[in-house]
Symmetry: C2
């Protein structure tokens, strides 16, 4: 595959760039047509790569792309999952180049989606192309690319239920995660789930003059701040009643194994520019972001947020609050517990609305499985060092659902790096990781 | 004056509407030209009403309007203060009619500025016109209208220092406050000061993926919420060190006198649509909003606040926080105490920026003064009942400064009502109050 990459390098980049140029921001309705364009472009790429069949499939939301090459129904089947939707780009002013005009700087592609997940999805199409064109394909390969991963995969969740037979497979192969770093490769053996809520605190029935009412009424912003502050106690524990009921404590052995992952507190802090870290008492930073649940406010707004000043007690205040869950926690249960708790802590002078935006469960992948071993061998050969098993803190909500629906385990061969700043301005993807990823994937098919 | 109003009613309304149609939002730079247009229109109205001189005066910010009619330098001089700038109109979708196209519904004018302060300022121009045209003017009258009251009066504050002689007067007459209600008129005998701050909490040097970092770092929004929550304790006391040092407790007699103001908790709560009130322990609601200092968040923002959801730990979070002060508290001192305190409570994992947006001191007006007595008599005659002295919770920062610079007391003859919802969508001003205000002002000149 290495030689094949060298020979086709320019074409590969031009093809990937054609995907990156489409602003497929799933959560913004203005980009609805771009979603379709992007799906259509993926169909073209799949066909050019050698798929027998590839099509844009209608769903209740943004379309799904399905493609396949069935060489022999008796042979094992790999289902490649990826997503073509990307996160919003704001704040736009912090981008050094146009998020939708990819640019190569210092050996990395800079663009929204360069890594997450257009870049990583693209590696699979090219590894497949290599196997097809060189006559080495020994598996049936199915491709499933969705357009709503960044907003909760609602449409795909429904679509899967009516397409179980079409999607039947032996393993769900995914590249949508990170490695520890480019020198110490790792393979994810578990991911966190998520419950994403939006809350509104309503006070007076209209905005009030803060001079006339200040000191006498519940200010929805102050109240929201107090309610949010109370959700996490001084030891970093979440105070929602029942929140930890289904959390399974890892064995000392498992914690030790995951503890092999290299971690340098100073480097970690320098990388994100902070002077101190915080989190749940009794756990290391890597445990806090990997094997423990957490709660974060992802957005907050209320009152006057424009230029200058306005002396107002606003009628409402809002926040988007998400919780990362560990594998045994149930996203729907947590949404219910959160809603009940948040309403219970609201003082009498306000009313509270709580809405579940999306959610998904976490999952684990057995290290002893054939697929994990094949991935480990493939990545080990390309990087010259055995990969470390790690636990991802992020969530791919849909994978736990697919695991249940298709009775197949997901395998997470991610090639992203922390330095890629997915979801942030100046998202990037190292060319070296892009090409090593393709190579590792091609080798995976060899060993699986 | 009553007859004069009846005869000129339509013209009066058309003139006032011409002011209301100009979107003079001082805090939004897009309206810079509108500010000048509005000042120019006031000059025309002053001249038409009988001023010998009226002009738009350049300042370091939005222009000031100055006008005068000096009948005899030996006679007492009344300086009328008002402001022609208005608050921003957002949220625009809650307005039932265009905020800058005045509409009369149920006996009230609906428009931004209908009351605050174009409507109330206009009453003075018309009372003056009546006195001039009917040959009853016995005082020198000066007019000073500024364009930055809603954003802190910075420009006027400087302008006053170089125009003390021009503005020399015996009383500063102002209509920019409310009455208790239309049946129980009141005259303000004191107002609160204000200190308006903007704070920024900075965490990581870029937005982070909440899956990768969630649980391990200081989230600037959660941190800001915690810091804000800690500013007020369970008893409603502000926790800033030294905050109450200069607060003078009112005597039992003064509290009793102010307690004569009618107050019905149910009506108060129904009016703003809330089921409970809160505030400082040991004080009534009217005391909390009148004679006690307070702290309110006027705006908050951070992270993803758009449609849908984004799993981000933002790099920054922001809030606008203002404190209402009582007369003996010094706005500058409070700004310093706030800054010191807010920085002191910031945890190590974030940095904090604190900026003072504007401020002004509170003040008191002696009830025994000749001006207060004249106003009380005038208002009493028009409303048929002696007005109650009251303490205003709002702030007109510049009045304390003018009091010191010009050695003249401000007299607050306000005719607004709580139902006018100044600073909110659907600001209005009752026609009855507009005309009774004109009448009261004309009578004030008679008794002063």
């Amino acid at each position: 595959m290495k030689q094949y990459i060298e020979k086709n390098r320019e074409r590969f980049l031009e093809e990937l760039f054609s995907l990156l140029r489409i602003p497929s921001v799933s959560s913004e309705s203005a980009h609805k047509d771009d979603m379709y364009r992007c799906a259509q472009r993926l169909v073209e790429l799949l066909k050019e790569a050698g798929a027998d069949k590839a099509e844009v499939c209608r769903t209740t939301g943004h379309p799904v792309v399905y493609g396949e090459k069935i060489i022999d129904p008796k042979r094992p089947t790999v289902l490649v999952y990826g997503h073509y939707d990307v996160m919003p780009v704001d704040p736009l002013n912090l981008w050094k180049s146009d998020p939708f005009e990819p640019e190569i700087r210092d050996g990395a592609i800079y663009a929204r989606g360069a890594n997450d997940d257009k870049g990583q999805t693209f590696m699979h199409i090219k590894a497949f192309e290599f196997l097809v064109r060189t006559g080495q394909l020994r598996h049936n390969v199915k491709f499933l690319f969705e357009g709503e991963e960044e907003m909760g995969s609602n449409a795909l969740s429904k679509w899967i239920k009516t397409h179980k037979k079409l999607l039947a497979c032996d393993i769900i192969l995914v590249s949508d995660t990170t490695m520890l770093n480019e020198k110490i490769p790792s393979i994810n053996c578990g991911m966190r789930g998520i419950t994403y809520m939006e809350v509104t605190v309503k006070g007076p029935n209209k905005d009030l003059h803060s001079g006339h009412y200040g000191g006498g009424v519940y200010n929805p912003i102050n109240t929201l701040c107090q309610m949010i502050a109370s959700l996490i106690d001084e030891d970093g524990h979440i105070t929602i009643k029942g929140f930890y009921d289904d959390v399974v404590e890892l064995s000392r052995k498992d914690r030790k194994m995951l503890g092999r992952a290299p971690y340098d507190a100073k480097e970690y802090m320098d990388n994100i520019g902070v002077k101190a870290l915080k989190g749940e008492k009794g756990y290391t930073t890597l445990e806090r972001v990997g094997i423990r649940p957490c709660l974060d406010v992802n957005g907050i707004w209320g009152g006057y947020i424009g230029e200058g000043s306005k002396t107002v007690i606003p009628s409402e205040a809002h926040a988007k609050i998400s919780m990362r869950l560990v594998p045994n926690q149930d996203s729907k249960t947590i949404a219910k517990l959160f809603t009940k708790h948040f309403k219970a802590i609201a003082p009498k002078g306000v009313t509270v609305e709580v809405e579940e935006k999306h959610g998904g469960d976490g999952f684990l992948i057995p290290i002893s499985s054939k697929a994990y071993k094949a991935a480990s061998k493939a990545v080990g050969e390309v990087y010259g060092i055995e990969p470390v098993p790690s636990r991802g803190g992020g969530s791919i909500a849909i994978l736990a659902e697919m695991q249940r629906a298709l009775h197949a385990d997901p395998l997470l061969m991610g090639f992203g790096l922390e330095r890629d700043f997915i979801h942030s301005p100046n998202e990037s993807y190292l060319l070296d990781q892009l090409f090593k990823g393709m190579e590792s994937i091609a080798k995976f098919y060899q060993y699986f």
